[in-house]
């Protein structure tokens, strides 16, 4: 099994008619994802390489039975796009777009929690999600992931997610689902959302987690692992040597007021029984040792 998305997931792309949406939408389809439609109010009735375009998410859901939406719309349009997706009836929304204002994220996160609690929002500013061999939504290169399991991956960083998938593939270790939750201040899906889902997924036997400096999401994840998980976890935290007060690329990646340091995160994770590697390769090797003992 996998979490959040699988071979039955039908995906529409808000922004399919734009260059990014088209590029990744078609790549995702080539991977095997059920790409059933696109949304653009000005181009309803047209097609993108055979994929029908609808005026609204609601129309697309009605016509195709779509269960998920991928958002590739430029940042200014993301807030209405996320709300439209939730109101339109999809259960899973992957928002890939970067550069979304934090206040927009805070607004639609809370709006969805209140009015559409059943909808799982992933992102914004994330690489997306892949259940290898079944469904790939977003910008992950599908062939660097080995299908099957037993490992689930959750990561705040894009390239480090790829790195993790690749390290595991080189060691012939499969992945049930790999979720890139993104590096923004208000991520729709948290580490804990993913850890809970992996804990409940019978095919996931171990979890690899990649965090970075800033915020306290990793510490909260450690608490969850300690209290609620019996599956083994390996982790890597990027930004051990990052100076305080400097944003390291991601809007969320900043050590401020002595909070959010990598050391504090690694300590919390170790305290929860997590195997913590000092670099992505080491975290991958630790996971290989865990898998060998399963």
């Amino acid at each position: 099994m996998s979490i959040f998305v699988d071979e039955n997931t039908k995906v529409i792309y808000q922004g399919l008619t734009g260059s990014q949406g088209r590029y990744y939408g078609l790549l995702n389809r080539d991977y095997g994802t059920q790409v059933v439609g696109g949304v653009n109010p000005k181009k309803a009735g047209e097609e993108v390489d055979g994929i029908p375009v609808f005026a609204t998410v609601k129309d697309a859901v009605a016509a195709t039975g779509a269960t998920a939406s991928a958002i590739f719309i430029p940042a200014p349009g993301v807030r209405p796009a996320v709300l439209e997706a939730a109101e339109g009836g999809v259960g899973f929304i992957a928002c890939i777009t970067e550069g979304v204002p934090a206040h927009d994220e805070a607004y639609f996160y809370n709006k969805l929690k209140r009015d559409h609690p059943e909808v799982q929002l992933l992102g914004p500013n994330c690489p997306g999600i892949i259940s290898p061999g079944k469904c790939n939504i977003g910008i992950t290169a599908g062939h660097i992931a080995k299908p099957g399991g037993p490992v689930g991956i959750v990561s705040r960083s894009g390239t480090l997610t790829y790195q993790a998938l690749y390290e595991l593939k080189l060691m012939d270790i499969g992945v049930t689902t790999c979720v890139g939750i993104g590096g923004d201040p208000v991520p729709g899906t948290s580490f804990i959302d993913c850890l809970r889902a992996f804990q409940a997924d019978p095919d996931t036997k171990a979890v690899m987690m990649i965090g970075e400096i800033g915020g306290s999401a990793e510490e909260e994840a450690a608490e969850f692992i300690k209290n609620e998980m019996d599956k083994p976890v390996s982790a890597y935290i990027a930004g051990v040597t990052a100076p305080a007060g400097k944003k390291m690329g991601h809007a969320g990646a900043i050590v401020s007021g002595g909070k959010g340091t990598a050391q504090a995160k690694m300590d919390a994770l170790r305290d929860a029984g997590v195997q913590v590697g000092l670099n992505p390769t080491e975290a991958g090797q630790l996971m290989a040792e865990i898998v060998a003992k399963l």
Binding site: H103, A141, L160
Partner: protein, 383 residues
């Protein structure tokens, strides 16, 4: 984007928050002109983005034209913890009965806005939080609900401000909330928020940090961006649209993706070296971006060796290699380069780079090997 005090006060004023009458001055004569207009006594304040201005002599009270001349002359050009003062803020001095603290920021754990209000203002709020946490009245605001007057009123009551300050504080907090949300701020802070002897409440200081992602709906923020404090290297990188943070070491770092770039800085430090920067070039195949990145790093005189760490995802190894080869032809490099190329079609990419390799352009198979090699080239002993 962190605003200077004067920008913060202008920002507050645009949302109707009462601030002291004042203006900006960059010369002694301008300072005098502002003082004459707002009326004495005035406060002459150095505009630098660093704490401890007052202690360093960057904030002075002046009761006459002569005093303004003296203080403005002394403070302009003053070096406060490495920040040279070029701009002054001159404002009418205020009589103060009480000093409070007010702020809004995002609580990333709760995913709600956190408002903090305290009757103990004028000091570091962190110190209050540590020694007397119950002196800070906190509220968590759902962005969907916003901050209504009734909530603001009970919040002010919980903070135990002087009853004379209640109406003024309720009004200012609602305006501050609007400034925070409609202004797309990451932080708005008034410390101190003062009560005057004639029972007026107003903002005596302004600390504002704006969300750089929101500039598409705030065209005026470009002016703030232009006054951001960056070192020379950061300015050059910013002008080229690169995600760059200057650090103090000797190994120039180029990587694709923020996480990988952070991880590269980490591994350089972990094996006994020191990174000169964090630089994320994004996708990683484009020769122009790579050439720009190499140029920025090449202009850093402290850099002794360069580490290019690329993981190809959708971008294939041969595209990355082609980008590097083209970029190398455009930039005349002062330092040797170590490349680690992995991921999609990495082997093809490495084959393309092979004929270009020499003792100034080296390739290593893993991140760890590459880190050790580049640290050695930078003059340190790798662990």
């Amino acid at each position: 984007m962190d605003l200077y005090e004067y920008q913060g006060k202008q920002f507050f004023a645009s949302y109707g928050i009462p601030v002291s009458d004042g203006d900006v001055a960059t010369t002694v004569d301008e300072a005098v002109a502002v003082a004459e207009r707002v009326g004495y006594p005035v406060v002459v304040k150095a505009q630098v983005q660093v704490g401890g201005r007052g202690k360093a002599g960057g904030i002075k009270l002046a009761s006459s034209t002569d005093e303004v001349r003296t203080h403005a002359g002394n403070i302009l050009g003053m070096d406060i913890k490495g920040h040279v003062v070029h701009i002054l803020w001159i404002e009418r001095a205020s009589d103060i009965s009480e000093e409070y603290y007010a702020s809004f920021t995002l609580d990333r754990s709760a995913k709600k806005y956190l408002g903090m209000l305290s009757a103990q203002g004028g000091v570091e709020i962190e110190a209050v939080a540590e020694t007397n946490p119950e002196a800070i009245a906190k509220i968590w605001i759902d962005p969907v609900d916003g901050l209504g007057e009734a909530t603001a009123r009970s919040w002010v009551a919980a903070a135990n401000l002087n009853p004379a300050a209640t109406d003024g504080a309720v009004d200012i907090l609602q305006k501050l909330y609007r400034a925070y949300t409609e202004g797309d701020a990451d932080l708005v802070e008034i410390n101190p928020l003062i009560l005057t002897p004639d029972n007026r409440v107003h903002a005596l200081d302004a600390k504002v940090s704006l969300d750089g992602n929101s500039t598409f709906r705030h065209s005026s923020y470009e002016a703030y961006d232009a006054t951001q404090v960056r070192d020379e290297r950061e300015t050059a990188a910013h002008d080229k649209g690169l995600q760059y943070v200057g650090l103090a070491g000797k190994v120039g770092v180029i990587a694709n993706g923020a996480g990988l770039a952070m991880s590269t800085v980490d591994i350089v430090n972990q094996v006994g070296g020191s990174a000169a920067n964090f630089l994320d070039i994004g996708g990683g195949s484009n020769a122009t971006v790579m050439a720009n990145a190499l140029e920025v790093i090449n202009n850093d005189p402290d850099v002794k060796a360069i580490f290019i760490n690329i993981f190809g995802g959708i971008t294939k190894g041969e595209e990355v290699a082609d980008g590097i080869i083209q970029a190398l032809a455009r930039v005349n490099l002062a330092s040797p380069i170590v490349i680690r190329l992995d991921g999609t079609n990495a082997e093809q990419g490495r084959e393309m780079l092979q004929p270009h390799l020499n003792d100034r352009l080296i390739m290593e198979p893993t991140m760890l090997d590459a880190a050790r090699r580049v640290v050695a080239l930078s003059g340190d002993t790798p662990k």
